[in-house]
Amino acid sequence: MSRASILNAIKKNKPESVPLPEIDLSLFQEDIDLVDIFSKNLESVGGRIVSSNTIEDLDGEIKKRYPNAKHIVSCSNTSQLATISISNETQPHSLESIDLAIIDAQLGVAENGAVWISENNFIVRALPFIANDLVLILSKNAICLHMHDAYNLISKRDRTFGLFLSGPSKTADIEQCLVIGAQGAMSVTVFIV
């Protein structure tokens, strides 16, 4: 049987035990403006930022940026723009023509412009990928410095499915020319509130 033969071969061939290193976070500590660096990094990976100072009416701001969106799913209590409601019974294939999905982000990571979103935030796993455009709502107090802090913050979660998402879907597979909008969302706008 493969299992036993693999494990036996490892036992026979592995080197002597080497200790697991500790991660010393002081090596990576930086005193920076988290919102500012997060925004710059998100823009550098093709994402858009709308920051809190300019928002009076969130839904109005979203509409302004996505005026043609008709089929809208909102999984956020802060937006009332939904035209289609979903539940965990929703078939992912039925989301094929969703123009815009609005999702609460749990945290942002300054070093790479990524946000963490999990199944709890978007109910149907396919949603953030199959929707044509994506709006993410992120609290400015929920931005951390780097991935070490991020994993610490999500360590107590209920582990089902979640992801770090950094900007829109992209590819450079044709002669290294960057094209935004490969198989996932064509645009990502993060509203920092």
Binding site: S2, L7, T160, L165, K170, C177, V179
Partner: protein, 453 residues
């Protein structure tokens, strides 16, 4: 055919070689820029290297822990000793679920196992969904780079390929148009596929979960629409704890393309209700490599491709010249372990400059291992008679200062006085496609003596 001969074929089109060289060097530069903006980058590399060393020394325990935790979460675990077992397990799962068409995101392991031809021979359609992989699949070619599978193709070639297979209109290779057409084409496949296959970037022993990284979102489009998700992983993809992802995800994309992180880093822990999730843990020669003291750290590779982008040989010979699933420097230390005879020329496809080791995010001493493989290969595999004789003579000359002085003088004399047609003739490999340097009258020793007096 040895690597050098394959490289010669690639070099027939000089303009394309130059483009390939520059395109990859550009990616290497992006990597440098990204690395330099991270505080503690070198410490991150040290950590990654040390974590991986710990993994190898406890690999069996971590795999058992991973299996136990994954099963608790309703994930099916399978073990495959070799490529054949791997392919058969996948085929069985697909049969049970009555799958006719499967979408697959990037997985070098399934390339290594030749999964596509196996499934196709059994009447199952396989669609590669990474754009670069789809391009090479349509062209009936293997990927030439592990991160940039179609880097050897011009946009005009892609244009022709898409006209033929996707019915696009001629666009002179407009990347925006072609990508958009591929998006429509692949959407249709995602919506119709019954199962999705992905690779695994990292599997976490502590949680039984795994992470898949893509920029296009193709892995997620596949798995969240299909009812069955099958993930293939080599035994070496294990990391001990989730917090270690913090180290590896900071390194991976920066080393690969210079991005701060891939667009999507998806964390799978449990299947959606009513759906199946399978993981296949594959050996296929890895435990053997684990037993080779000098080469085991090659298993630490996280498949970023940085060693390829920086390698002066890879950039000028193209991925296909290696005739191995993983090309470039890392492939050249992995492949000889799989088949010493077939891949025996690869460790010689290097200048031993060490740039690969310098950029490696997990600090594999790639160039030293290339050298080590040469020591084994020259003993175990028959070398060409010319190479053997020349090296024997060189050995004698270099060991004898008088002989060395004589040959040096003769070479300088000839380089100075012989006509170019002789110097750059067929027999002088060094004179192929390049002018030899201007020679001085004296050697270093003479110059040094004169300088002293």
């Amino acid at each position: 055919m040895p690597h050098a001969k394959e490289a010669e074929l690639f070099n027939n089109d000089e303009a394309k070689v130059n483009w390939h060289d520059q395109a990859l060097w550009f990616v290497r530069n992006k990597r440098d820029k990204a690395a330099h903006t991270v505080k503690g980058w070198e410490e991150l590399r040290n950590l990654a290297s040390a974590i991986k060393a710990n993994v190898l020394s406890n690999l069996d325990d971590y795999l058992i822990q991973f299996e136990e935790n994954a099963q608790k979460n309703g994930i099916h675990i399978h073990w495959a000793a070799d490529a054949e077992a791997h392919n058969k397990i996948i085929h069985d799962i697909l049969l049970k679920n009555n799958v006719k068409m499967v979408v697959k995101s990037k997985s070098m392991l399934t390339e290594e196992c030749h999964l596509n031809p196996y499934l196709e021979a059994h009447g199952i359609e396989v669609i590669d969904t990474d754009l670069g992989e789809r391009i090479v699949q349509l062209a009936k070619e293997p990927p030439s780079h592990i991160v940039l599978p179609a880097i050897h193709k011009t946009k005009e070639e892609v244009d022709v390929l898409f006209q033929k297979h996707l019915g696009t209109i001629p666009s002179n290779g407009d990347p925006q148009y072609l990508t958009n057409e591929a998006r429509k084409h692949l959407r249709d496949k995602f919506l119709k596929a019954d199962a999705a296959i992905t690779g695994v970037n990292f599997a976490i022993a502590e949680t039984g979960g795994f992470v898949v990284c893509t920029n296009e979102g193709n892995a997620d489009m596949g798995v969240h629409l299909a009812k069955v998700h099958i993930a293939s992983m080599g035994i070496e993809k294990i990391i001990p704890q989730e917090k270690h992802l913090g180290v590896f995800l900071r390194l991976l994309a920066r080393s690969a393309t210079g991005q701060p992180i891939t667009t999507y880093s998806s964390h799978f822990n449990k299947p959606t209700e009513g759906k199946e999730m399978h993981i296949i843990i594959v050996d296929n020669g890895r435990t053997e490599q684990l037993g080779r003291e000098h080469f085991r750290s090659s298993l630490n590779c996280i498949r970023c491709g940085a060693c390829m982008n920086t390698c002066p040989i890879y950039r000028r010979s193209g991925g296909h010249s290696y005739k191995a699933t993983i090309p470039g420097p890392i492939g050249s230390i992995l492949s000889p372990g799989m088949d010493l005879k077939k891949h025996g020329s690869l460790p010689f496809a290097s200048t031993l400059c060490g740039s690969c080791s310098d950029v490696c995010p997990v600090k594999i001493n790639i160039h030293e291992q290339l050298y080590q493989w040469r020591q084994i290969i020259t003993k175990d595999v028959k070398q060409p008679i010319v190479k053997k004789t020349v090296l024997k003579i060189a050995g004698r000359v270099l060991a004898n200062s008088k002989l060395y002085g004589f040959f040096g003088k003769s070479a300088r004399f000839m380089l100075k006085h012989l006509p170019k047609s002789v110097i750059n003739s067929q027999t002088n490999t060094w004179g192929k496609a390049r002018d030899l340097p201007k020679v001085e009258n004296e050697n270093f020793e003479d110059w040094y003596k004169k300088r002293k007096s």
